[in-house]
Symmetry: D2
Subunit: 307 residues, 4 copies
């Protein structure tokens, strides 16, 4: 099936695999990456066309062009937009697939639309598994703009009619993706707490990998996150060499902020984020002060920081 | 395949369907229910044998007997055990499939074993969907006792080699089931909070059923609980006629208690339980007192309870 | 002692008593209120001078003027600032005593300073008890501006050398007040939870007023909030006529937002706010959805909303 | 005033100062300590009588004897009770002042009462400050037993008519003390979070000691815990040498457990405990597993534990 041409800007972990999947399933991908080698390697591997410059990328696409930016949110995305915008023509479509804050996307859209170019925000979920299983795609933008991106969404998604959604106006795609990640924080924390309780019940000497594996079928908690948990526990359930530090990207925070702004209680999502921060030592000052308070009123010993 | 005979005691929502699945897939079920009509109807429908009394049930089973109790935890289960125990012989096996507290099961096991009967605790997950999709089964007991139950576990589970696990000694089955439900509380709360945030973002006018449906494929939060959420949102996403009251059964509480006893922080699971309690009005006294405190220091108006 | 003259704009619950305390202890107060009657009554009662217009208020003050705005944050304060600013002269000082968001105060300060007028933000704590016990005052602004307000701060505070602080630059006063209120939310919630646990222990039939009264002396939790709790429990500890609804003003929210922005975990303060919101029904959608999820997987009954 | 004689068993941080306060204000104290030197030093210092054995202590007291045990809860208290019980006569009174679990005290009371000796449970708050300021005393027991202890309670408390309470039957004293400590956990956490937010606002360069000092007067959060916080911040507000580890004794846990058992939501108290546990590394397994989950789905790097 002739799906048409799409420009992919940014060939990192996400963009690279998305280009592969698009090309594999019938789209013609023109790809650009700041370090041209990545684009050339991908061209060799998959038959996509590598563009040495954004100018070249734009020239290789028929109007109205669909250019998908798959770059880190913030400065990298903004810089590429500023660079490519003057090269695009009225009616072209710029898709921002970054994990961007939806409010920022709404501002960005106005800027892009002022040049006559359409803006579509696309939240992309699927991580390193997306190439194989397809990506969940949450898209915001005007109906006519999204319609032009639709053929590519149908390839990227797990199926032509599933796993992608035109959520609403510009911003709504990144908003839905943000909430998706907030839910993910809460679910992950719930799973981790549960396995920590199992692990602490030493008298039963439970095989956590076997428990996780068993829950994958027929249980109420069966889920993709459980599948991943089982996979990691099969490899190692002692975790002796792993530091107890959980990173966070922006979206858990944005979800907690959105909930506060809307005055919707989201205690579990918020707490899942705060526990990650605690694991990073961000509650150290509070803990030190608590230790000193205890010392003040009860004469309790305080642990001195090792030098 | 000749799987053998099993006695099923209790033909409620869970026990009835488990009997159906067992009989359908090759086991011979002898079923007893306090109200005999249920057993007779099931016999008519499925070809199982109905037993009018526990005595009759025991007589219809070949030694060593496998009797599966599928009754509410607590008194109903205990009463049936007291009634059937004198009818059983050394080497027979009693499976307790209730949502029982694992500590209670461990005590019960000693009582049963004192009669020479083996005790197996089986946590059963799957709810109203188990007949069709199979049940996740978490089993505790001595290896030789569990081995005799195994043929039936292989039928009840989603597959002969998946969805069931001999977790460890007596008590471990109900313990693992308890933690499973604790995780379930946390995951459900995370999902509910996320959809509440989406629902509160009125300017995007999101179709929550469509969002849930889309997330079912390729997203990180895809899960059975999301499948159910999508199903319920497809029917109604306004929920105008539903009271905002979330019931809880014992297992969320037991998980929170186990975490406290082990000194393992489980803030998200615990909070998910506390939010359910808040929805039931169990925090009313605290809220009233807070309203009065605000009134005391700030002269803030207090809402009088409607008479 | 000749303290000098101050203009007080806004004679509500807070401003009225602050004017009383200032006039009582040696300051000369010129007071303005949109509804002139309040100013006239206060003049009659206390000997302050009532001003019929902001123009009159300004004229009755010697340069450099100190004008203290004690109005609701947001529009009312902003409107009065716009009205009075053209009437003021270079070197005059405008004190904003509202419970304002510190970021807004910082913006406002720039606007005021552009007219040559100095801006001081003052967080005021003390509620209805301030007249008698003095107000805690958290002040932000340039040192020379705060110095001119200092004589009045010394009267308003519980003592000339205690209960007031020049915290730092403009904004810092309202920031410190904001965090003060955040802590207040957490402390109140801790107290309320504790008394709810006592109240739930029916077999001990505890006299909660007597417990609160006893804790006021020698205990670790002795505090002003406990004093107020004791006072309210002495009057009524059943609270049958009080609705379990706890209002919130902006500052708990702002504190939670500031913590998120700084990536400082503040789980207890945030949760205290979320529990208030839950008491207001702001978690209803989540609770409804949870009830429906339970219904989906377990066939559990859902409570229908009463019509 | 002739108050009478009391036996004090255990002269640690708490018991020693309580003996001092009793003797100073008119009681005659006979004191026993496993290491006799402590009793002898205290005798030298204060004029109390040192007893070399429990036998000697009992002999030096007139019937009905009042013996106050001020020992660590659990084994130390139980052992001393078993040792002294045979030496006591019907009508004598044993006061357990330990931070004991109220349920354990209720069991212990039955054992003691079986010997004809009365049992009184006394929760004692006040820490290292009690000698000077008096102790808050929460007492459970039969009215006639408590009446005999009352003269000593009036001395130990901050005033004869304040800071002590006969709460109810045996167990109620330790129950009220337990809840007191639970509230303390929540209040401390709220304060610590607030100061952490202030500390994180580096652009205002706030003097946290000055803020704490100012809040001590007129603010809503004024409290003894704030007094202590101010004292510690005056000495050091950087806390560079303090390890971010907050210990917990039993009572926060018992309060959280009591709340769960009563189905009373106590999210803030429970979370304050869980945050202490997190500071102790008790959430490490969960954090490690979360780090691995992130690695699984997103290819995110995991920090290796330093060897």
């Amino acid at each position: 099936m002739a799906v048409g041409k799409i420009g992919m800007v940014g060939l990192g972990r996400m963009g690279g695999n998305m280009a592969r999947r698009l090309q594999r399933d019938g789209a013609e991908v023109v790809a650009y990456n700041r370090h041209i080698e990545k684009a050339q390697e991908l061209a060799q591997e998959t038959g996509i066309q590598a563009a040495g410059t954004l100018q070249e990328l734009v020239e290789k696409l028929p109007a109205p062009r669909v250019v998908w930016l798959m770059l880190p949110a913030g400065a990298p995305t903004a810089e590429h937009i500023h660079e490519i915008l003057p090269l695009l023509a009225t009616g072209d479509i710029l898709v921002n697939g970054a994990n961007a804050f939806y409010g920022e996307s709404m501002t960005q859209a106005k800027e892009v639309e002022a040049h006559g170019v359409e803006y579509v925000d696309a939240g992309v979920s699927g991580g390193v598994w997306g190439l194989q299983e397809g990506y969940a795609l949450m898209v915001g933008g005007k109906p006519e703009a999204v319609a032009k991106v639709e053929p590519f969404l149908k390839i990227l998604a797990p199926g032509p009619d599933k796993g992608w959604l035109h959520c609403g106006p510009v911003g709504s795609g990144h908003f839905v993706k943000m909430v998706h990640n907030g839910i993910e924080y809460g679910m992950m924390q719930a799973l981790a707490e549960g396995f920590a309780i199992l692990q602490g019940k030493t008298e039963f000497d439970l095989d956590l990998a076997a428990v996780a594996e068993m829950w994958r079928y027929g249980s109420v908690v069966r889920s993709w996150l459980l599948d991943l948990t089982a996979a990691t526990l099969h490899k190692d359930q002692v975790l002796a060499d792993i530091a107890p530090i959980v990173a966070d990207s922006g979206e858990g925070l944005w979800t907690a902020q959105a909930a506060l702004q809307q005055k919707v209680p989201a205690p579990v999502i918020t707490l899942a984020l705060q526990m990650r921060w605690a694991s990073q030592g961000k509650d150290d000052y509070a803990a030190k002060l608590l230790a000193m308070m205890r010392n003040q009123f009860g004469g309790h010993a305080v642990v001195q920081e090792a030098k």
